[in-house]
Symmetry: D2
Subunit: 352 residues, 4 copies
């Protein structure tokens, strides 16, 4: 039996499914004037870099890349030495969803530790420290954490600080994969201060600053919060195929995103809509939605035939087939009307 | 002494300096509607792939990447086996202008042969064939040619065919770096038939199909003219950091570019403007412009102080400092007015 | 307080600590006559390869390398395609004791699964099969098992066969790291038939054939039990720095090892001595030695101050510091007198 | 027509065809006593490292590897940074005879410059310096020279010093591939002082110290003449598969080689025999042997049918088929009787 309501205008599959925010698009159109020097020697790139330094209230070094995997690989490539390894959770995007790009391009092992909430703790870092100095083992040298995590959890500023302190004490550096940084920032107030609290102020060394999930059409940034770590970044970026010739089109988007506060607003909107979806569906006990989402994803239990019926009506991804668990994810453009429509669909599906 | 004329609206530095064609931009804006599945599972990507098959009048396999270096590396990664090497000229973009991306990511040696016109000949391929079967040598397995070349020359369809025949006879494959494919196609008629004549009809196996220099904002394509060569391409693309999550924005540009014939028009325009610039400046004998440009670049001799004066007025790159040679390059958007303005500047500079 | 008995002539640190068997040394001396063509074009190498085919009663392809890590990396390099991954246990030598050589040289991820006994089961292989066909994941393509394992356990022929059947059903290949193949073979009878039962007869595709722990001075072999898998092996071997110019000196050792049956005898001797050490010490309940060793290692609990006293007297390695666990390992040359002497030391240490 | 003389006892194919010197073999036998800690924690390795410091009259850092390609790759791996390139001649062993191992394992481009005598000059280094600072180019960072060269020429101490001064002035390091270091040293006196004159005294930073062509059975050394350059060498050595578990067997050979002066004697002997062969054959004008060999190889012209007849009788390798040029190479064990016998064969062959 099919659901007959009107499906929502937007999908709950992924924040990747959303397009670009109209203001971002307008910035792209404005940047498309006449000629500009290629490879970042244009005024937009200069301005975008300054926007990042303003955002972090520090003289950080920012370089743009095409996409998220490129950002992570570039960030890590700049700070790994031969025979070094990266410590992360076994949920980490770099460990499971980048088709081995880090191993291939960095030639480095990822030491992926189990974690029930996709977060690392200081003791996790300490647990691998015994490898240091043993020539038969890779050398744990970089800790990579994701904020917000692949499971929709977040690190508090204090948690990040504790990790950074432990890492630095053990002569390791900290990379943060911020593919959903905007959503994480919203948790702590959606302000520059909130962002700084769990990044630069907490001691993070290098940041993959993602905005494709926060309304940008294309392009991500790598921000060296310790600028000297990026000394070779421009050579390495070209070498790993991530240098955009028509750079101004990435930069102009970031100028718009940062100078207008859009970055903060859009993550908050996605989070708010996930909460609204939670509120609109939690009464279906079968879904097992007992805890409000922290950021923009829900992981309900959805047995058959409800699951297929709902997916046929408005597609979303399975999360854990055996557990009958799916993922609903909101985006920067999800509206209250989308929530209401989808909730009606859920109700109809569960009634089948 | 400075030049006082009004500088042209567009630069002659590189075709990279141009932005996106208005129709391309409009296609991007249209594609920015609501949601679409990520990573290429959208209708634009389906359509764009079909456009390529139509263009080549064959069931080719096309996949999109972010940029030109990514296209070359991906194309080669799909067809190289361990210990294989790539034969190219010492002018090849892959050999000198990609910061060693092929060596780094492919782990493969480039056998870069000298060439006065940046073109390979069948005998060049034969000259390295003795390496085959010797376990101490890398195995020449792929020939990579650039069309149009880094020196602004082009291969005729017959020349490409001869290369492909020799390569295939020697059990090698042929890759074409088509960063300036539109300009090359214009030389032979600016039609699909012209394009096919020196690619698929001539026996080329894999093609880096560039359009960023032909009016696209971002994104290039890899076209497997022998589709089975791309069996692993999707895995490898993600692994080398070249999979765009919001793929529709690349695809939509290519649909516009191919379905409207814009691809053919814009390369022809750039070439025509280079010829116009030649005609407008060749009477300055000191420039040494004796032969009309084949595609969209001129390499005049420009001694000091004329050179600096002209660069200060409207910037372009030096080509060979010792030879006092510079490069003037037109783009898809160069106008007759730009030519006239620039020619006045040249005249003024030479008079200093 | 120090132990005052006479320490044993040989260490219990590792089978790596032993030298070469006198017959092997004699073979080396004999091979040192006059000149022989380099890189394997000598009579010893021809003979050694034939010895391997005789040993496996099949036309296998054998190539020699310098050491064990080289053997594993070469074997895997020959059978992995781009974006492929290797499935192994988290105890695997390739995963923890090769300083990331596989990731560095192969550019491949190792999917290292937890295992209490360092053995994989068919369900482990099935558990990662969902990654196949997902372009965001590495593709599990090779299963690598160690025989005998890093924890001193062995796979029965039936267990290996079950793994191979599952792997092949899922379109994967099976590599066996046989660094301690001689010890494993001894478990099943120390005969060619025993060796074949859990290798070629069980369906293993490629074998790292180790003999440095079985009396060889230097050099290991990679045996392609499916010979066509080694089609590119000679190029890859040179490329990964594992081609010995004076090959005859490795080959001559293997001729001696295989033609005389020494390979079978020496592993059995090491195993027998481990059993003798077990018998001579198991009455010390504190050691926790409840189960006889299967091959040549014991993992007793040894609290302080006994541990340090015993290590000072005759060194061996800690295994798990927190658990106060150490490793005692016998070698091909361990004697009954060594066992008796060491057992006296254990007794004295525990009495401190 | 076949040559009927008695063929020489030793081949003139390559110095790789020779075995181990009896004293080296005796050292190996002596080292095969009982047990020694693995991976270099043995007394022979300690002593061998001290021998190297004595040899260079400086506190150098020495680590052993299995073979020559491993030595070169390890040396370069320790001193290259991401996006760096190696400058060498197009004759360099690393460029043509290592099956692309440097590109594969280092991920680095080799900038191989043409050279008529396989030697680099300071101006060669300067000629690529323009690449520095250009993010589209690999960064020339290491100069690799071979001593004696692949063409049998040698650098004088002054020439090496000039190269090192230029390299260091341009912020580059110098690696020397000393696969035939013993032969080169013999040219300047066959003493430690001679060796130092063109290595440490001339400013070389890292040295691949080869001895397999000077009487060692297996194993080469990497000597960091600036010891801090080897800070990560032990991790990298294991990672690139070049760590020998039974290290003592390499080390013991080097102790013998260095402490007895054998290293100096054997290269001199090979050189002397090449000169003797020159003297014994130069009167055959057709051979074109006008200049005495500097080290241990001759490159005569040998037309058919003499060539095949001589090769059938006592095999050696072709060098340049088109030029009818072959290579005759002496080894550390070539005798005056071998020379006389071979010269008779040459005479007979030319008479056919």
């Amino acid at each position: 039996m099919a659901i007959t309501h009107q499906a929502p205008s937007r999908l709950f599959t992924s924040d990747n499914a959303a397009g670009a925010h109209p203001d971002i698009l307008a910035a792209l159109v404005r940047a498309n004037e006449s000629h500009a020097l290629a490879y970042g020697q244009d005024k937009y790139t200069k301005q975008a870099k300054e926007s990042f330094s303003k955002l972090f209230a520090a003289d950080v070094r920012t370089e743009f890349v095409f996409g998220g995997t490129g950002a992570n690989v570039l960030a890590l490539a700049c700070i790994l030495k031969p025979a070094d390894a990266v410590v992360c959770t076994s949920w980490a995007h770099i460990a499971v969803d980048e088709t081995g790009a880090p191993e291939k391009i960095l030639g480095a092992k990822l030491i992926d530790l189990p974690s029930t909430d996709a977060k690392l703790r200081p003791q996790d870092i300490r647990s691998v420290h015994h490898m240091r100095g043993n020539i038969h083992h890779v050398q744990p040298a970089v800790v990579s954490i994701t904020q917000s995590t692949e499971l929709g959890t977040v690190y508090t500023p204090e948690e990040v600080r504790a990790l950074c302190e432990t890492a630095h004490e053990l002569d390791m550096l900290v990379h943060m994969d911020g593919a959903r940084l905007s959503n994480a920032t919203a948790v702590f107030g959606a302000t520059p201060e909130a962002l700084r609290s769990f990044t630069i102020d907490a001691g993070v060394d290098v940041l993959s600053f993602g905005a494709m999930k926060a309304g940008v059409m294309f392009g991500e940034a790598v921000v060296f919060l310790k600028p000297n770590l990026g000394d070779r970044v421009e050579y390495i970026r070209k070498q790993i195929t991530q240098l955009n010739s028509k750079m101004r089109f990435i930069s102009a988007q970031y100028v718009e995103l940062l100078e207008t506060g859009l970055f903060f607003k859009l993550g908050a909107q996605a989070n708010a809509m996930a909460l609204a979806l939670f509120d609109a569906t939690k009464h279906h006990k079968i879904l097992g939605l007992t805890t409000p989402p922290v950021v923009n994803s829900l992981f309900p239990i959805l047995p058959q035939p409800a699951r297929s019926a709902l997916q046929d009506w408005s597609f979303f991804w399975d999360w854990d087939i055996e557990a009958q668990q799916v993922r609903w994810m909101t985006a920067w453009d999800t509206t209250q009307a989308d929530i209401e429509s989808f909730a009606r669909g859920v109700e109809a599906a569960l009634a089948i």
